[in-house]
Symmetry: C2
Subunit: 288 residues, 2 copies
């Protein structure tokens, strides 16, 4: 039976650590603050916001809600982002996306100050991840995979990692993060031939294809660690990942559940980025 | 016996094509122009410059030599780069590196206009390659590998490619380019375990480790294509690649020689970038 790598225990330990770091920042003059920028009242956004707010409370992060009508013009949105970029009491900015139709996502991403880009959406954050320059932050879900693996002491150095999916949000950034951990990384995608064989060679599978049933029993061998990043709605209407969880439970060495795995860690990583951004700002202001 | 994939035939065809494109640009008012920025008289730089100048002649590209004393200050160098950035008759800028001690490479890279960055050294070019946004250009040697494979009609889509090396100049960018060709890409490096086994799984090996003897007979199987990107000086003082060329010649399906393989194509790709930059500038000026 595979060990179940739950996110709860990871995020709980991370939250305790962040709470301490937030308290130190608060004593030095300012609580780490995340501005969330929301246009309209989409149920998905509201649910995400509630989750974030809870996690923020547990980590000592202040959430500043910046809510605008759904029909806010692009010009006005860019102006609001600019105000937040220049507000020294705001350390991280999270813009709920997808943005309403008519707003150019690229223009909004480009407007965001990279040092406050706590979800790694700007080109410079992405370049930082690719070049290892350390500018900006990684996308939270990608980094949550690494946090989870480290928490459970799953070795990565020199191991073979297979990443399924090549999106800018998960597949590519998690590949770059695994490479930085000295894993030998194989990036698979929809055009990959013999996916099952490629997966069986891996010590570590990161499934981020976004299709239920991508990782079948044929992909698995004993001893593997299987991280399921996807959040799909299955044929039965229930939330499910990319991995045949029952098969993985029988065959693999360890597996993350969906829900309750990587997704649970993601909001904790977002808070980690806010606290880190606040610490960096505090060091800079000491030098000034 | 493996087929020998020489660079000469690739660069010759590319040059003919570029010559035509350059002539069209010239008739429309301006020859595609590459500014080369050289500090001092390092023999390596001079040899590279001679090679470039020859290739430029064959492709209809004008080379403007911007030569400065070795002790030029960083401030003055940045000012010269700025002048070239704003000079509409210059389409590409190549700065010979490594720069003399005392000059901050990062500052110089950051000063370069991404649209003239024909060797893909700026953060925005790198981000463009990683995100697929198409901003800037890929590093020339990385793109030369793809040009060579396409010329010889080596299939990449769905094939397993193993890249040895994870540098920003070759390993990572060639991995991104192979991914864009829909290959399944494995990135190996100094911490990879069982390199020989990983290599034997590949249809295509790109060796860019920079160590002679990295790809031994044990890494090879019949039918593979082996691209050797490295330029090492062997124990005998002769130029050699990463691949045991004799073994590859016997076992593999196709192999690139060193010298005379990828390196030969690189200067052609640089000229391709200059001509492309000039064409983009010409389209922009038509819109103005």
């Amino acid at each position: 039976m595979a060990k179940v790598l739950t996110g709860k225990e990871v995020v709980s330990q991370l939250s305790d650590e962040l709470k301490e770091r937030s308290e130190i920042l608060e004593r030095r003059g300012g609580s780490p603050t995340l501005a969330v920028v929301r246009l309209g009242e989409r149920p998905d956004d509201l649910a995400y916001e509630r989750g974030l707010t809870k996690r923020a409370e547990k980590t000592g992060v202040t959430v500043r809600k910046c809510v605008f009508p759904e029909d806010l013009s692009q010009e006005d949105l860019l102006r609001e982002v600019d105000v937040l970029n220049h507000d020294s009491t705001v350390h991280g900015i999270l813009i709920f996306r997808p943005l309403p139709a008519g707003i150019d996502d690229d223009a909004v991403r480009a407007a965001l100050a990279p040092e406050k880009d706590v979800d790694g959406i700007t080109d410079l954050s992405q370049a930082g991840l690719y070049t290892g320059s350390g500018v900006g932050f990684a996308p939270c879900t990608a980094e949550a995979c690494i946090k989870l693996l480290k928490h459970y002491k799953i070795p990565m150095e020199g191991k073979r990692a297979v990443v399924i999916g090549r999106s800018q949000v998960i597949g590519k950034p998690v590949s770059m993060l695994l490479l930085a951990q000295n894993a030998t990384v194989t990036i698979c995608h929809s055009r990959t031939q013999n996916l099952a064989q490629v997966c069986r060679e891996a010590d570590l599978i990161i499934a981020a294809a976004g299709h239920p049933g991508t990782v079948t029993a044929a992909c698995l061998r004993p001893g593997q660690t299987v991280v399921d990043v996807a959040m799909n709605v299955g044929a039965d209407g229930k939330l499910c990942g990319d991995v045949d969880y029952e098969a993985a439970g029988k065959v693999a060495g360890a597996v993350t559940p969906v829900p309750g795995g990587v997704g649970t860690v993601t909001s904790g990583v977002l808070m980690l980025h806010v606290v880190t951004a606040a610490e960096r700002e505090a060091s800079r202001s000491m030098l000034r």
